[in-house]
Amino acid sequence: MQADITVDTKGMACPMPIVKAKKALDNLEPGQIMEVVSTDKGSVNDFQAWVKQTNHELVHYVEENGVFTFYVKKQ
């Protein structure tokens, strides 16, 4: 999937993955896609809850060998 910006939070623990992702998303235009890469299993549920609550769209989510990748479309 083509992303307009990639946020690498590998190795970071809660709350940093979402803090970084939010700052990046704030700079995007509506309709653009953000890719977030994380190794923090604990933030996965938080990430999904955050996207839902902020009315953005989680378009794709994959987990591979403990690396979580989220694609979020800004509303």
Binding site: A13, C14, P15, I18, V19, G42, N45, D46, A49, W50
Partner: protein, 382 residues
């Protein structure tokens, strides 16, 4: 206190004392809504609200309106990081008396607080270990340099350390039944301490290890003066469930009888088969025992069950008056109560049973995840 931020760390032990002694505390839980609604810190003096940390990234003004200024504030999250992130902002906004929970809900879930239940006739004593975050209870009987641990929880180091402090050797570990809501530490603790591990044989038909049979007629002795632990077969939660009479004073009921509820018969998939056993245990077998026995269960369902100093205990005769599960005269209604509309089953209960049988050997992190959430072993835990 951290000099640069004015933020204080609170340990699970300190929080447990606040809950036990009904002290006032305002808690801001910054986990996501799903985790918060599944389980949270409870207590008589506790007021708690939930605002996920991801709503507070740009500032905490929206939270400040909801936090009273005249109460101590504790910020909690799953592990710790997000609570520090939020609490620091609250301190920067000028609030005082702010702390965060060390290790977060993960540490709270695993914290065990020892509470003395009483003295035994020969100078020994009985302690209850309250796993307050999950509602689980273990026991240690101490007498003349020896100890027996009953329904040992997974955090075996707590029992080892306590035994060292009290200068006793752990000689026995006893499980009243094959647990389905938490991973037993009984076998591991016995192996480490050179103790004997006891388990009811009817719950042990599939286990992969050797054990001593916990059955009626056997007596377990602790210490030179022989504090007597007498097994009482009391099936219904599981087919093997066995209660223990300690020192003719205490009745350790495992998951058969709680303070405000009774055990559920369905966690091994045999609710229909075991209802009759549950009924006989509660309405016949226990009725033949002395009303003055003090019932000590392996769980509590609500934090309101914590009595003086955090102790969970009640006289058997009083439970026959007050416990709704002991006051269903109609057998058909009893059958319905214990088989229909039961609360959800505990998280990962099948895997937990397999682990306790020795069939699977999950890592410590996997075991921790399996135990997430409330215990839900009683009929009335909603």
């Amino acid at each position: 206190m951290n000099a640069t931020t004015g933020l204080t760390k609170m340990t699970s032990h300190e929080l447990a004392r606040i809950v036990f002694h009904h002290k006032e505390l305002f808690i801001l839980d910054v986990r996501n809504e799903t985790e918060f609604s599944d389980w949270k810190i409870e207590g008589k003096g506790i007021e708690i609200i939930n605002i996920p940390y991801f709503d507070l990234i740009d500032g905490v003004d929206s939270a400040l309106d909801k936090i009273p200024e005249n109460k101590p504030l504790l910020v909690v999250c799953a592990k710790e990081g997000s609570s520090v992130f939020v609490a620091e902002q609250i301190v920067e906004a000028g609030r005082t008396n702010v702390s965060y929970l060390e290790g977060g809900m993960k540490a709270w879930s695993e914290h065990l607080e020892p509470v003395k239940v009483g003295d035994l006739k020969d100078g020994g004593s009985l302690y209850q270990f309250v796993r307050i975050g999950k509602g689980c209870l273990s026991y240690m009987v101490l007498s003349n340099g020896e100890a027996a641990v009953v329904d040992t929880l997974r955090m075996t180091d707590v029992f080892e350390q306590f035994a060292r402090e009290k200068n006793v050797k752990i000689a026995h570990t006893i499980d009243t039944h094959l647990h389905a809501d938490h991973i037993s530490g009984g076998r591991q603790l016995a192996a480490k301490e050179g103790a004997t591990y006891w388990l009811p044989p009817k719950d042990a038909t599939e286990v992969t290890f050797s054990y001593e049979s916990l059955e009626d007629g056997k007596e377990i002795e602790v210490g030179k003066s022989k504090i007597n632990i007498q097994p009482v077969y009391s099936p219904g939660h599981t087919i093997g469930s066995t209660s223990l009479i300690v020192d003719d004073q205490y009745l350790l009921t495992g998951d058969i009888l709680f303070i405000t509820s009774i055990g559920r018969p369905d966690l091994a998939g045999k609710a229909e088969d075991w209802v009759g056993d549950l009924r006989t245990t509660l309405y016949t077998r226990f009725k033949e025992l002395s009303n003055d026995l003090i019932v000590l269960p392996a769980h509590f369902g609500k934090v309101t069950e914590l009595g003086e100093g955090g102790k969970v205990a009640a006289r058997l005769g009083d439970l026959y008056q007050d416990n709704p599960g002991l006051n269903i005269t109609d057998e058909a209604e009893f059958r319905r109560t214990v088989t229909e509309n039961l609360p959800p089953q505990p998280n990962a209960y099948q895997e937990i049973r397999q682990t306790n049988m020795g069939k699977i050997n999950p890592s410590e992190e996997e075991q921790r995840e399996m135990e997430i959430g409330p215990n839900r072993c009683a009929v009335h835990d909603q």
